[in-house]
Amino acid sequence: MPLTSPGAVAFALAVLALAWAWPPRRLWLLLLVSSYGFYATWGPAWLPGVLAFVTLAAWRLGLLIERAPEERRGGLLGLGLGLCLAPLLLLRGAGALGLDLPSVGVSYYCLQAVAYLLDVRQEVCAAEGHLGRFALHLAFFPKLVQGPIERAPRLLPQLQALSRPTLADFQAGAQLFLWGIFQKVVVADRLAPFVDAAWSPERPPEGLAVLVGAYFFAAQVYFDFAGYTDMALGLGRLFGVRLTQNFNSPYLSASIAEFWRRWHVSLSTWLLDYLFRPMQLGLRDWRTWGTPVALVATFLVSGAWHGTGTGFLAWGLLHGLYLASSVLTARARKSLLRSLGLAGSPWLRPLQVALTFHLVCLSWVFFRAPSAGAALLALRRLVSGLPASLAQGLETWLYLGQGRAPFLAAVAAVAAGSALRAWLRRAGEPGGAAGPLARAWWSPWLRTALSSWMLYAVLFAGAAAQSFLYERF
């Protein structure tokens, strides 16, 4: 049941109505049963069974690790990590062998369970004794199928303090959900035909069309995933739960390192804390090469987490190499900027933002392509077809065969989505801390007008709903 479907909205409102009448002390039970019911709509009956298995394994091992003497903790942790990662590895392995088994949500709650066990082992958080609340922390339906990948120290205390939903939370949650669904159906889904045309196996584009296709995909994957995240945050907020914001205007980053602090934050901080940092510290005797090697290894794992295709591995490798080279050349780049007179220049950051965006777009080509070979072929066509595409009309290379009107509508949708995001950054996210613009007398009026307009756009100007891109990871 995709979050964009009327069924999902009706389901969330029904659970919310029940939550108002439900005894607050037993609210966890209502949300747990609802979450498993929601998950059951996503595939075969064994899928919630996988969730229950990971839940029981992580819960039991967490308690055992906490109570065990120091010398036994490592072994118990290894057992727990093995049990929690087994479903993910098995499903990925089956996918690599060509078996198309449904795996919605598995990679998200498996990582969450692994983080919990490592946190208990490092004494960052206490083991949760209440099986029901622990199960809800993995299964909470707003973030079950596509994250954010929540941390136990942040989410469990909120689930322990669940109370009757409030009107303020409903208002904030509804606005967040509306903002999210706007980004998804009005912006991201409108871009889908252009991206599909750019990757058409029948008529592979050449020259500038490849570049335009890469720009379209960069916008699509952002609005798709950021839209989903805001919808998940909105649904969580209906029940008073504040989930982690995954995005912070990532395409305004001035370096790849900054990009990863602003893109899919819950995954990148997971990789940073549980994979990169321990590896980096373990390799610190390698001096200069320790951090670059840890970066490449971490991003290869990130690529493999997204899928077993060579395109994902190449995408991860590329980001690992970007970051590794940025570490190795840090001092040389500083000197170069000084010698070019760019250090401290007002032009420096815009130039860095443009460069970072294009490096990210290059990596998206590998992410979107069916394989690394197909991505390389597309990049070759970008160069070899450049003269020919310049001679062709806009219809071919700019509109990607979709026509002028749909192209202008898509550009307008991206501009509207970007402008709204910029405004929210200055006025404050719904239900979040108020920004500087929120104090203006007209701000509440503008917020109401924008919400009404977004609702209108979702209902009457949305493209045919597509499935979320990050659902399959």
Partner: protein, 76 residues
């Protein structure tokens, strides 16, 4: 309180002329101290004080005060 020696090691590694480093200062509050430079700073502190931290000890560090306390424990 952060010792002068620890302060100098950190500032030298980050190529900073000066910065107010207090017990409650966290890495994010110091320019240039990010996840990529973190291990370089830790290695420089280990070298300067002739100590070796365990990975778990480093992972648990939350502030400069805790790093100072860890150095003192190791050199005691």
């Amino acid at each position: 309180m952060i010792s002068e020696k620890l302060r100098k090691v950190i500032l030298a590694e980050l190529e900073l002329d000066d910065w107010d480093l207090q017990d409650d200062t966290t890495a994010g509050m110091v320019p240039g101290w990010d996840s990529l430079s973190h291990v370089r700073i830790i290695s420089a502190v280990e070298d300067a004080f002739g100590v070796r931290f365990k990975t778990a000890e480093i992972v648990r560090l939350q502030s400069l005060g805790e790093l100072q306390a860890l150095v003192e424990r190791k050199t005691a």
